[in-house]
């Protein structure tokens, strides 16, 4: 159990990479990149977890009454989830532009077009 989350994070990262490298459709590649991104979230939050801890949010618990997990990694992750979505949007916009200019989103066909 002590390394399971790290292994899952590594698995997600590698699976996303394989998906991107073998993709025949740029939109699918962007989706695979999203899987890669999620691996970093899993890794960061796993590093910050404390056994028996609870969220560092004091709206419904008294400060100091329970052990807390690490808020720093959570802060890193939460902004990245939203910012990552807008970056995905930018990539999708580029894919749409590629489709407009070349009429295909297959990376192999695009390479042939370039010559």
């Amino acid at each position: 159990m002590s390394v399971l989350p790290y292994l899952v994070a590594g698995w997600l990262f590698l699976a996303g990479c394989v998906g991107m490298a073998t993709s025949r459709n740029l939109i699918h590649a962007v989706g695979s990149l999203a899987v890669c991104q999620s691996s970093t979230y899993v890794l960061l939050l796993a590093v910050g977890y404390r056994r028996g801890g609870t969220a560092p949010v004091h709206s419904d618990i008294r400060p100091g009454s329970r052990p807390l997990v690490d808020p720093v990694v959570q802060a890193l992750t939460l902004t990245d989830v939203v910012v990552g979505a807008t970056v995905t949007a930018l990539l999708l916009a580029l894919v749409v532009q590629v489709a407009k200019r070349h009429g295909t989103v297959d990376p192999d066909e695009l390479r042939e077009l370039r010559g």
Partner: protein, 285 residues
Amino acid sequence: MSPRTRLWVLACGVAGVAALLAVTVWRLPPFGGARHPYGERAVEAALASRVANAVASVNFDQRAFDTLGEQAILFGSVLGTVVVLRQTRDERRVEPEPAGVAGPVRRYALIALPVVLLTGVYVVAHGQLSPGGGFQGGVVAATGLHLLYVAVDYRALKRVRSVHLFTLADAAGEAGYLLLGTGGLLAGTAYLTDVLPLGTFGTLASGGTVPLLNAAIGVEVAAAVVVLLARFLDQAIEIVTSGEEGDRAPGTDGAPGTGGARPAGGTGRADGADGPHRTGRGGAG
């Protein structure tokens, strides 16, 4: 490089990284360990500045400058999307067809829309107390607005949404964050320092500038998402290049590979398969 060689290179790379990861994970701090020096100090600092949600304190007080960078990325990628997906000279707009939607869906959307918007505001406003904040609440509110597209039609959404205003709101949110930061400079300390009175712990006004920065981010994120989706919606529904069909009659092809089997019809096919579906959906209510 042939596809076969490429696969071999990929396999070697994946195997190498997997081996390295497998070695490294045993050296990482064990999962669930009790030692979190940064976390403990961050919680102490959060309580000292009377912010109940330590994550919000890290984001908008202790690491506020980092968040400034994050939201600059957000602003930049929205700007990039807007530029990439603009309407070019050889493109024109077609008026989207009204979509018939089943009555219950439409009624549900019209009741749910204000509920989602208010939930978004609630999440932004209580960012420094309970889980939530500007990033989350902004996305919630912006998604709620697009219920009008998914459950009514694009024309209804366009009637209530002024992209121009939302672009301004996006910039205003960004500017608000930057200007709130200068409060620290005016008070004679560092940029983005929390200089306002801290208030009572656990209330809406606690934490000095944290709720204000949260609100600025909330406005920016909500507006950014609306502008982004406006560009995608325009491209997918309204904008056509010469020779391309509009939203009136897109075909029903499934995967791109199967589409080629269809016989090439005339450009002006009015009996595209989408038309009957749309009107048919109206009858379902």
